[in-house]
């Protein structure tokens, strides 16, 4: 340290020098409070000033005495990120230099100089360049940004002098249980988390706010945990309970809320944003997707208290669990919430890949709050991810059967009743296994056959395009091939033939080319053409193919509507064998013909998949027909058909789920050059980035192992991310404010120790139990504070990141609707089932090329909780969009609560809200004969405590004015209510639902 005066500055500038052993206690306190604020915070500047004034003197003298260790993570890396990594990072490595990895920073640049030489700041090129006055030499280049400040240079210099130690960004390091904080007011905390909150307040000379009133606490906790307001009865029971003990009354109230079926409905909404849940496919026509049984699965999982590790593994890889239950399979619909483009002419492979990459990004944002998506095109600009890391991770998802088909293939039926559901799934699994077995035994049988003879067609015809056959038997087609083109091949007489093989060849066998357009037939027919008589169709007994994959069963090519080949895309050769019932007998003089029919269209139903290059061969082994006709095999086929029938009988909504392709049908995953799927680089195997893999455990190899890794101690992120998300839902703001980004570019935790403590507690003692975790927060002293903010506190901490007061947040979009229904007494408590259609203005659903209509529900479905409202991606429910719910196009980790006039218009004038107001007015009418009592009753529904007399008076005055008006104008009154009195009271109820008191929890 060259100038003692700088000593204080660095820790202040870069927050957390408190890790350093050399820092005095005085400094430590000061630094700790610095850590409360991210550098983006508005109060930051003021705070720095205030604290500097507090501590400058003693800190300076302490600093003079003891050299301080620079903390790389909090002081040096941010400096690199600010000034250097744009050019010397992951995307660009100008001069072959990168400041993302130590070995790269310490290696020789293309200029021949070493940027960083540990221990030798004066020989390190980086110091020379950042201090240079030569405009051609100085870094950053003047056009790229301002020069480093003297303070920043000194940090860098000292860091190099201290040996240039490196450490990972905080979120890449596993959480460590911090020491129990020292606090003075030992009676306040109710948990370790409280102690952390208090320690910080005390260090700043602040104290917690007084406890909230019973009404304030009850409204807050009830809405936070269940999304519904407490009733006056609830409140009275609670205050009654409180008389025999405040703590136990609260605890038993929280337990009841957590046990309420409303709990799952509230917390599912949080999850559905991350999952981009929608009842439609997305894109142009945006058709209906029957995926609500999965939404119900989520609600049940929350209600049943499923631990988050289970919840994770089932959703990401329930299908790969040993003996998965129906519920495990249903859970995998999680990643089938990706969009599906059915627009005519859209490339199925493009949108299949888009869905795969969306799964990667969604997984990383949801569990790890890491902006992994950047790596699709290039190495991560700030965080230690190489480009191949992204595609290695994508390989986990690249082998599922779904491929952007218009019918959302693959879907599985999930009968509504639990017992049929399990039976159906058991039968589906049985049928699937049997089908694989039937093909596998066929493949084994055919493997021994050596005498395949090529078929050299005598002539070839096609109903469209051009067909040519070559002397070696290769058949090629070109030109305009209609979707349903039929190829007719006249072939030599082959008496005694027992099987025909078709080999479908790609345009190119070259490795690493992007997939080609598919080739598949839908029917294979063999005809004998006797002279002067009509054709006879030869009976085909069985079909065996190289491997089973894709939407259609190849066996059906012997009737029609099958699919033999590959579509929508083709990545390599395919073959299939059609087995005759018995050795072929051909009458004297008769000809022989093969008909290949097509009919499969991909790319939104407009792109045909006719064969372009193929060859045929035959075999005369009678054993093949005998094999196909064997009793055992015939019975197996019959059993397969019986199973399929039974599954059909059991019925149930068909939900898109993840289905892994078989070993032999696996897709290769390659790195995309610049994120473009049409230019491919090296092939990769599935794996997790090393930088995110704690410890020496072997890298996960499949989706199931990946899911287990996410919730294991080997993943540094997930517990912190979930703890932070739950904390943010309860306190209105996360410990890391950027719920979506824990990387270098995200906000830093305002209390790293508290976050680590919460993360470890969540996954440790609490066993990943969301309910237990929320219970602790709900019963904490921090949460129980009054939200009242004094002017001084507001100025000091506008965002309430210190928690020196209780949280006060706007209701979420869902809560706004649900509360209105609850207060008015209209709310239906019916749970689960297909999405519903509450009142919505005309014209919201004018979607092109789609005749789907919003038919407003007339029964109790009209008044169901918001989570059950039909969610259409291209045209969301207006109330939700206006109140900041995301469109659910992609994973969304944080809602920003805005405050706009359009929201006011919505809750004031939406007919749905008027319907609620009218119903609320009827409830109020029953509360007494005097308007005063009626209004007092209505207001009390929101505030629980006896309402303030002034507030009642304001509404009474409104009532009187309205009543006068409506009495004078009966026509006007009739439009709003049953009588002038009801109309006036309806308007009062409308006002109540629009109070700040109502919109806030």
């Amino acid at each position: 340290m060259d100038e003692p005066g700088q000593q204080m500055i660095h820790p202040v500038e870069f927050i957390s020098g408190c890790h350093s052993r050399y820092v005095t206690r005085m400094q430590r306190d000061c630094l700790l409070c610095m850590a409360l604020f991210s550098r983006h915070d508005a109060a930051w500047g003021l705070f720095r000033l205030v604290l500097l004034c507090f501590t400058l003197g003693p800190a300076l003298s302490a600093a003079e005495a003891v050299p301080r260790l620079v903390d790389f993570s909090t002081e040096v890396r941010p400096l690199f990120a600010k000034h250097c990594t744009a050019c010397h990072g992951g995307v660009k490595t100008a001069g072959k230099l990168s400041f993302l990895y130590r070995e790269k920073a310490l290696s020789k640049g293309s200029s021949g100089a070493f940027a960083v030489i540990p221990g030798e700041p004066d020989k390190s090129e980086v110091i020379r360049r950042v201090t240079s006055v030569d405009p051609d030499e100085v870094m950053p280049k003047p056009e790229h940004g301002p020069a480093l400040s003297q303070g920043e240079v000194d940090v860098l210099r000292q860091w190099i002098r201290q040996g240039a130690p490196w450490s990972d960004h905080w979120s890449f390091l596993p959480p460590v249980e911090p020491a129990r904080p020292l606090i003075r007011n030992k009676s306040w905390p109710k948990s370790t988390a409280d102690a952390h909150v208090l320690a910080q307040l005390e260090s700043l000379g602040l104290s917690p706010s007084p406890e909230a009133t019973a009404a304030e606490w009850l409204r807050r906790v009830t809405l936070d945990l269940t999304g519904l307001p407490p009733s006056v009865d609830d409140f009275e029971r609670f205050t009654e309970d409180c008389r025999s003990g405040f703590e136990t009354a609260r605890a038993s109230r929280v337990d009841r809320l957590l046990a309420s079926p409303a709990f799952g409905e509230r917390w599912a909404s949080v999850w559905l944003d991350l999952v981009r849940y929608s009842d439609t496919y997305g894109f142009e026509k945006d058709p209906f997707r029957e995926i609500w049984p999965w939404r119900d699965w989520v609600i049940r999982a929350f209600n049943e208290g499923m631990s988050f590790d289970d919840f994770t593994i089932r959703q990401l890889a329930g299908d790969l669990l040993p003996n998965p239950s129906a519920e495990d399979l249903l859970a995998t619909a999680f990643h089938r919430n990706t969009q599906n483009n059915t627009e005519g002419g859209t490339d199925d492979e493009e949108f299949r890949m888009a869905a795969v990459l969306d799964r990667v990004n969604t997984t990383w944002t949801t569990w790890n709050a890491t902006t992994f998506g950047c790596v699709q095109c290039h190495a991560h600009p700030y965080d230690p991810f190489e480009k191949a890391d992204y595609y290695r991770f994508a390989a986990f998802f690249n082998n599922t059967e779904d491929c952007d088909q218009n019918d959302d293939f693959p879907r599985k039926p999930f009968p509504n009743e639990a017992s049929s559901r399990e039976e159906s799934l058991r039968l589906q699994r049985q049928a699937g296994r049997l089908r694989e077995e039937l093909n596998a035994t066929g493949v084994v049988k055919l493997k021994d056959l050596k005498q395949w003879q090529p078929i050299l067609p005598l002539s070839a015809n096609a109903t469209g395009g051009v067909i040519k056959h070559e002397p070696d038997g290769l058949i090629r087609t070109s030109g305009t091939l209609p979707i349903d083109v039929v190829y007719t091949l006249e072939i030599p007489r082959i008496p005694g033939a027992t099987a025909f093989r078709i080999e479908i060849l790609p345009d190119s066998d070259e490795a690493g080319r992007p997939p080609e357009r598919g080739q598949a037939i839908s029917k294979f027919a063999l005809c004998i053409k006797p002279k002067g008589a009509s054709n006879q169709v030869v009976k085909l007994q069985d079909v065996v193919v190289d491997f089973l994959a894709g939407p259609r069963d190849p066996r059906n090519v012997i009737q029609a509507g099958g699919g033999l080949g590959s579509y929508p895309v083709m990545t390599g050769r395919r073959w299939g064998v059609m087995i005759l019932e018995k050795p072929l007998e051909i009458p004297e003089g008769a000809g022989l013909e093969i008909r290949l029919e097509h009919g499969i269209a991909s790319n939104g139903g407009v792109q045909g998949c006719a064969l372009r290059q193929f060859r045929l061969s035959y075999v005369k082994d009678p054993g093949v027909s005998e094999f196909a006709r064997s009793q055992q095999r015939m019975e197996a086929w019959a059993e397969h058909a019986r199973l399929k029938n039974r599954i059909k009988e059991l019925g149930g909504p068909e939900v898109p789920v993840l289905v892994e392709r078989s070993q032999s049908a696996r897709r290769e995953t390659r790195v995309f050059v610049r994120g473009n799927r049409l230019t491919l680089a090296e092939s990769v195997t599935a794996g997790v980035p090393k930088s995110a893999l704690v410890g020496s455990r072997s890298n996960p190899g499949d989706r199931l192992e990946m899911a287990r890794w996410l919730v294991s101690d080997q993943n540094p992120f997930a517990a912190r991310v979930l703890a932070n998300r739950l904390w943010a839902e309860m306190f209105g703001r996360g410990i890391v404010e950027t719920l979506e980004d824990f990387g270098t570019s995200g906000a830093r935790p305002t209390r790293p120790e508290l976050l680590d403590h919460l993360a470890l507690r969540l996954k440790g003692e609490l066993g990943w139990s969301v309910k237990a975790f929320l219970r602790e927060i709900a019963l904490s002293a921090s949460y129980a504070q009054s939200a009242r903010a004094s002017a001084g506190l507001l100025e000091r901490d506008p965002g309430n990141s210190l928690l020196a007061r209780g949280p006060r947040s706007r209701l979420t979009a869902e809560m706004i609707r649900d509360q209105g229904l609850a207060l008015s007494g209209l709310l239906s408590r019916k749970s689960f089932g297909p999405p519903v259609f509450p009142p919505q203005p005309e014209g919201i659903w004018n979607t092109v090329y789609s005749g789907e209509k919003w038919n407003t529900s007339t029964n109790e479905d009209r008044f169901r909780r918001a989570v059950y409202t039909y969610a259409r991606r291209t045209a969301g429910y207006p109330l939700f969009i206006t109140f900041d719910a995301p469109m659910r196009d992609v994973c969304s980790a944080r809602r920003m609560a805005s405050n706009t006039p359009l929201q006011a218009l919505n809750t004031l004038n939406d007919p749905a809200f008027l319907e609620m107001a009218a119903a609320l007015a009827r409830r109020m009418e029953k509360a007494g004969t005097l308007p005063h009592d009626q209004i007092r009753f209505g207001l009390r529904l929101v505030v629980l405590d006896p309402p303030k007399i002034e507030d009642v008076q304001s509404l009474e005055a409104l009532y009187r004015d309205c009543l006068k008006n409506y009495r004078a104008n009966a026509d006007l009154a009739r439009q709003l209510g049953e009588s002038p009195e009801h109309a006036a009271l309806t308007l009062v109820a409308n006002a109540i639902l629009n109070l700040d008191l109502s919109l806030i929890r």
Partner: protein, 494 residues
Amino acid sequence: MELLRNLFHDALLLETRRHFLRDSAAGLGALWLAATTGRTWGGESSTKRDMAQAMAPAPSGFAAKAKRVIYLHMAGSPSQLDLFDYKPELARIDGRDCPESFLKGKQFAFIQGVPKMLGPQYGFTQHGQSGAWISDRLPLFASVADEVCFIKSMYTDQFNHGPAQLLMHTGTQSPGWASAGAWATYGLGSDNQNLPGFIVLTSGGKNPDAGKSVWGSGFLPSVFQGVQCRSQGDPVLFLSNPPGVSRDLRRRTLDAIAQINQRTAEETGDPETLTRIARYELAFRMQADASDAFDIRQEPPVVHSLYGTEPGKESFANNCLLARRLAERGVRFIQLFDWGWDSHGASESEALNHGFKGKCENIDRAMMALILDLKMRGMLDETLIVWSGEFGRTPMRENRNGVEMKFVGRDHNPGAFTLWMAGGGVKAGFSHGETDELGYQAALGKVSVHDFHATLLHLLGFDHMRFSYPVAGVNMRLTNVTKPGSRVVREVLV
């Protein structure tokens, strides 16, 4: 002690902000949100925008030529070859097989195998001093050709409607990014606080293929998303008071709400409550102002005959007139969507030789009227009109499923399309760029969608490279950060 200076400076800034907020109508609203939502185009030192004042007018980066934008999007993508891009050579080879070189390595939505070439379906003549080639489908628009600046060498890389529309409006083909209108209002706020700053009007209420994401705010705060207004019923959702609630009674209701909210604010000290009071007031003003703005019956008959408008009907013409009224009132970005331009020839209504004619009639007069009207009012100089589809159409005739269809149509063509602009800072009576002799690919002076966005932002006073918003460590731009090399098309600037 540079640092100390900075600290004082920061503190001063904060102090100023606080006073500003305290004295402003909205009070101390949304302070923390404001603090975390900076607008970053001005470099590091730029002041951060307060979300409670999100729509307050703001200065741009440098002198803007256009104060506002009226964007006419013809969803489905009209055929440039039958409107603006005259290709005599294409007429000459009409009906011949498409050359192999056109098909190799190309992907089409519907064309299969080898289609036939299709010449221009309508006659072309030159118009005005500038000699612009315009087909006889747009005779009235042709009369204002000297006000228009054509870009005939537009190209895109998307050939399906949804993704191409997203690219055209948000700079990327996937949903979730911010639209141009959201960027404009984010950057400039709006000159009228009683109307939304970014208004979307759709002919007949039909949404574009890509849904509402094309006017979404994406990663920008949601207040900047486009507000879809309707030409029938309430122009803004829930604008009218419900039946039985007069404006006076609504005023009374709001007074009662405000009284109680005021007490709540005093008791809790929550600045959001004060903001809410202001928002409810704004809603009340918006009820009057928006109803007034959307009431085209107020226009004199001469204006109606100029535009061909019929009040009460849902039409593109009505929306053009509305666009002018909104522009007059200071709305920053007015986005119109017309639909039915997907001229495949698969049905009569969208065939080039049938429905297309009617579509042209629907827009011809209204486009002329909008340009003339703005000019007469002296607003054209500061209002940028943009007209485009999301891609172009092929010089080949569509042969769906490989067969010639009953009606005449063209398939999607990302390789070339025409976009025109008028007013706010672009050359009048000018044409930029050329396609190849068959109008298949942009050839000279090619302009990508991102180049167009760079130009649009430039006209609004922003450097597209610096006008950004930080998302997950990347400074996001309308000119997609993953697609470097976009340029301002200076050739078209005045």
